[in-house]
């Protein structure tokens, strides 16, 4: 097994650092999967079983790295899976925003490590400083690889482009102080509603004129307690009740500079947020619906 890569461009370095920081907010541990053409960050919940992971992130290596070499276990198992404490990685990569160059290697010290060599510019001279971080990793054995397979999700009922994530996050953060659950509702007409209902208050924030990427309706609401909205065709509306805190954490990914975010929903069951960046990175967050 061998892995060695070099990053020299500032934009990808900043983005890489932001991605890892976002991941560290989601979960203590993550799995870094290295393959020929892509790096993957995968966060799955403990004992998740057949449910999709929490996060699935794909990073194309050729956009980020100027050099990239890796050899897997053997010809049949070309990839490498490493378990990492995400906070460790995030802390070490925090300096990347001002760094000149990053080298990543898989090394064998007292335990397997990801060794990061970061070259930092000096503010007083033209010389540079080299900072080395050794981050302990766990090599995931082959028999467990199947737990980190690409998520297979049911066909979403609707995919709609989200408004600015920062705005969305501010609103969700206000809502989560009032309720632990928020209902997301998306319509084929490009409307998105966030709603909380408690004994004290009912608050709905409505966005309109959003781009609908796909709609696979009509939606069957026959078995649910959905209240019908006046002058709205409910068969064209999809909804899902999710944990407000979780949703807010996912929205902290707004600090990754992104092109667009698509929210896909499987009625009542699942919300998938898919964030795409300039550098062709794709982050997918999976938020299970709360069903009573």
């Amino acid at each position: 097994m061998k892995f060695r890569a070099v990053m020299v461009d500032t934009a990808p370095m900043r983005e890489f650092s932001n991605i890892v920081t976002t991941i560290s907010k989601l979960s203590k541990e993550c799995v870094l999967r290295l393959s020929d053409d892509k790096l993957y960050f995968i966060v799955s919940e403990d004992n998740s079983g057949p449910t999709p992971p929490v996060l699935w992130c794909e990073i194309p290596q050729d956009v980020f790295f100027s050099e990239y070499q890796m050899i897997g276990i053997d010809d049949e198992h070309k990839d490498i899976y490493l378990g990492v404490v995400s906070a460790n990685l995030a802390r070490s990569l925090a300096t990347l925003k001002s760094a000149k160059c990053l080298k990543i290697k898989l090394t064998k010290k007292q335990c397997p490590c990801l060794t990061l060599e970061i070259e930092m510019p000096s503010s007083t001279s033209t010389q540079t400083r080299q900072v080395t971080h050794d981050i302990p990793v766990v090599v995931v054995p082959r028999k467990l690889w199947s737990e980190f397979q690409e998520p297979r999700v049911p066909q979403p009922d609707i995919s709609i482009e989200l408004p600015a994530l920062k705005q969305l996050r501010t609103t969700i953060d206000r809502m989560k102080t009032m309720s632990s659950e928020v209902i997301i509702r998306a319509s084929a007409e490009g409307r998105l509603t966030l709603q909380i209902k408690t004994n004290m208050a009912k608050v709905s924030t409505r966005f309109k004129d959003l781009r609908v990427e796909a709609f696979e309706g009509p939606i069957d609401h026959s078995d649910s307690e959905t209240e019908s909205q006046a002058n709205e065709d409910m068969s064209r509306v999809c909804y899902c009740r999710v944990d407000a805190k979780k949703f807010s954490t996912f929205l902290s990914s707004e600090q990754i500079s992104h092109n667009k975010t698509i929210c896909s929903m499987v009625n009542k069951k699942l919300v998938i947020l898919c964030l795409q960046t300039e550098e062709n990175v794709m982050l997918q967050f999976f938020i299970p619906g709360i069903v009573y």
Partner: protein
């Protein structure tokens, strides 16, 4: 008034709910407030253990539209925490317009908020209301005013912030003689004293006929700190029965004013 709201107990709108929200936050030391709409303005009142009564008062001229029925009492209890969160739903950096509706007794208070800079979004809130508890009538018409001070709010806020945190009791000595205002705090092992003569920059006006000493709970006085931070001026009034009234004025960019008021009950010598 063609949309059937003329029979509503209250309809009101304003261009920016921001100052309203910060004023409410300044008196948000209790979960619930009594919301009272009068023809001359809106008043929200909270009480702390029958010792402190704080109100936020928004004169009607702050609203672009303001109607309240004068043949009924428009008064109810509402969660002030929920109200401020709702007013702030688009974040502190966003100015949003606000519309308020209250149909009749027992109806929820309806709010419609729309940010000024983003056009494809709006929020509507239904906040449940309850029958109002009676509000303490602290003002005693028989007690006369014995001292009145007008102070600059920021400077007075700085002075309060300087007081020792661990102290429980604050003593206010007012006198026509120098040093006019003397504030003493008593802690476990110490006593500290701040003198403010009426010539101080902080003091805009001072009137006091004869010396008076009053004691208050310092945590009670501290409740006005948030209101001081957003206000420009504070008026202190002491009445002969020891009741302290602090009136704070918040001046908005559009020259309109909002007020907060704190009644604080004195500590009596035992």
């Amino acid at each position: 008034m063609d949309n059937g709201t003329s029979q509503y107990y209250l309809t009101a709108s304003m261009d920016s709910g921001k100052s309203f929200c910060s004023l409410l936050k300044a008196i948000q030391f209790q979960e619930n407030a009594v919301f009272c709409a009068m023809p001359e303005g809106l008043k929200l009142t909270v009480e702390e253990g029958k010792c402190v009564q704080a109100s936020a008062y928004i004169p009607a001229d702050n609203f672009t539209e303001y109607h309240v029925r004068d043949d009924v009492d428009v008064m109810f209890k509402i969660s002030i925490a929920v109200l401020t969160e709702c007013l702030n739903i688009f974040g502190a950096s966003e100015e949003s317009s606000l519309k308020m509706y209250y149909r009749s007794e027992g109806s929820p208070l309806l709010l419609v908020l729309q940010p000024q800079s983003i056009h494809n979004v709006m929020t509507d809130c239904e906040i449940s209301t309850q029958t109002a508890d009676s509000v303490l009538e602290l003002k005693d018409e028989d007690a006369s005013e014995v001292a009145k001070l007008v102070l600059k709010a920021t400077a007075f806020g700085g002075l309060l912030a300087d007081l020792e945190r661990s102290c429980d009791i604050i003593e206010l000595n007012l006198s026509p003689e120098h040093p006019n205002v003397s504030i003493t705090t008593y802690g476990m092992q110490d006593r500290s004293c701040i003198d403010v003569p009426k010539s101080s920059d902080m003091v805009e006006s001072f009137s006091c006929e004869k010396p008076i000493t009053l004691k208050y709970q310092l945590p009670h006085i501290r409740l006005i700190m948030k209101a001081l931070a957003i206000s420009s001026k504070v008026v202190l009034r002491c009445s002969s029965n020891g009741l302290l009234l602090l009136q704070l004025k918040l001046e908005k960019e559009d020259q309109r004013q909002m007020f907060s008021e704190f009644y604080i009950v004195p500590l009596l010598d035992d």
